[in-house]
Amino acid sequence: VERSRSTFNYGTYHSLDAIYQELDNLAAEYSDIVSKLQIGESYEGRPLYVLRFSTGGENRPAIWLDAGIHSREWVTQASAVWIARQIASDYGSDPSVTSLLNKMDIFLLPVSNPDGYVYTHTMNRMWRKTRSKNPGSLCVGVDPNRNWDAGFGGPGASSSPCSDSYHGPSANSEVEVKSVVDFIKNHGNVLAFLTLHSYSQLLMYPYGYKCTPPADDAELNALGNAAASAIQSLYGTTYQVGSICSTIYQASGGSIDWSYDYGIKYSFAFELRDTGRYGFLLPAAQIIPTAKETWLGLKKIMEHVRDNLY
């Protein structure tokens, strides 16, 4: 049976099932360059799906991109799906994406915290953490962006299971985190680690667990500013650029600190729109504009990685 072109509406929010269905549609529609991998299972047994964009070759240098680690940040999962189609459809028509994929692979995890995402749809729209049980506590869940092995348990993370920034019992205790760590370690050739959060328009690089600048501070700062300019060029959305510590506050156990210390030089965290009045409830009408401007920033970083393999 011939598959029809997807009717997925990119301008609205979707359930996890609908997003996962669209990942299948993309893999079918662009089967020459897109494939779907399962890198693990969430605490409640939901699959963690990654889209692999590749034009072939073994263990090529790769770019990692994830979204939705904080489940209530719905615009990130929605943007990731839009970006997935953009990457796939741009290959062969956009010279930048074409040359990128001719040289490198992209791995995209659109829903990093599927249990949390389902929980935001069914029980509590404001849920941010995983859904793992904490022995000895009635409170559920760990902040998966305080659970990475980077200054774990240090400043800016809570030791209380009831806190929204609870770091968990140990680094990588959350299977959602460990699955990504294992995947990246097994791959062995990931050169960029990009993660999408919302909101407040920030583009951050390491460190968050300490306030000393990273060895590549100058390059990351210049690249971050170039990406922010690219984002601004579309609708005028302004981003603040800097290290996590200098831009917001000290926060330990974050993903890009782990990736940077692991040796992935181009490690960035995006905080997407809101532009001020909606918080985590960004109206669906803003999904595509957000995704479009974010894509420009991502592309700027990806092009730099492509041209500066290390």
């Binding site: 509406n9 301008g11 609205t12 929010y13 979707h14 069914t122 029980m123 509590n124 729209r125 404001m126 009831c162 929204d164 909101y199 407040s200 917001i248 506050y249 001020g276 009045r277 909606y278 918080g279 985590f280 409830l281 109206p283 669906a284």
Partner: protein
Amino acid sequence: LETFVGHQVLRIKTRNEEQLKQLRFLETLEHLQLDFWLNPSAPALPVDVRIPASSLQAVKVFLESQAIEYSILIEDLQVVLDREQQDMVASQQ
């Protein structure tokens, strides 16, 4: 599905480190069940916090007593959530 009727999101602007310290103190008061969307970090940066209806009066009194400036970012969170839900249903249909 948990509802958020009467929850407000306030945008708080601090002028100095002392006011930031006051907000960090507020953060530690678990019984208020505050949900910081943007945490207190630097005087130049706003702080956004979701406040349950039951804690609204206490928080506002606290802020006013400390002369900390705030505005209402979201008047009633549930109204915004209902709109989001309607949009999703309409889109699915």
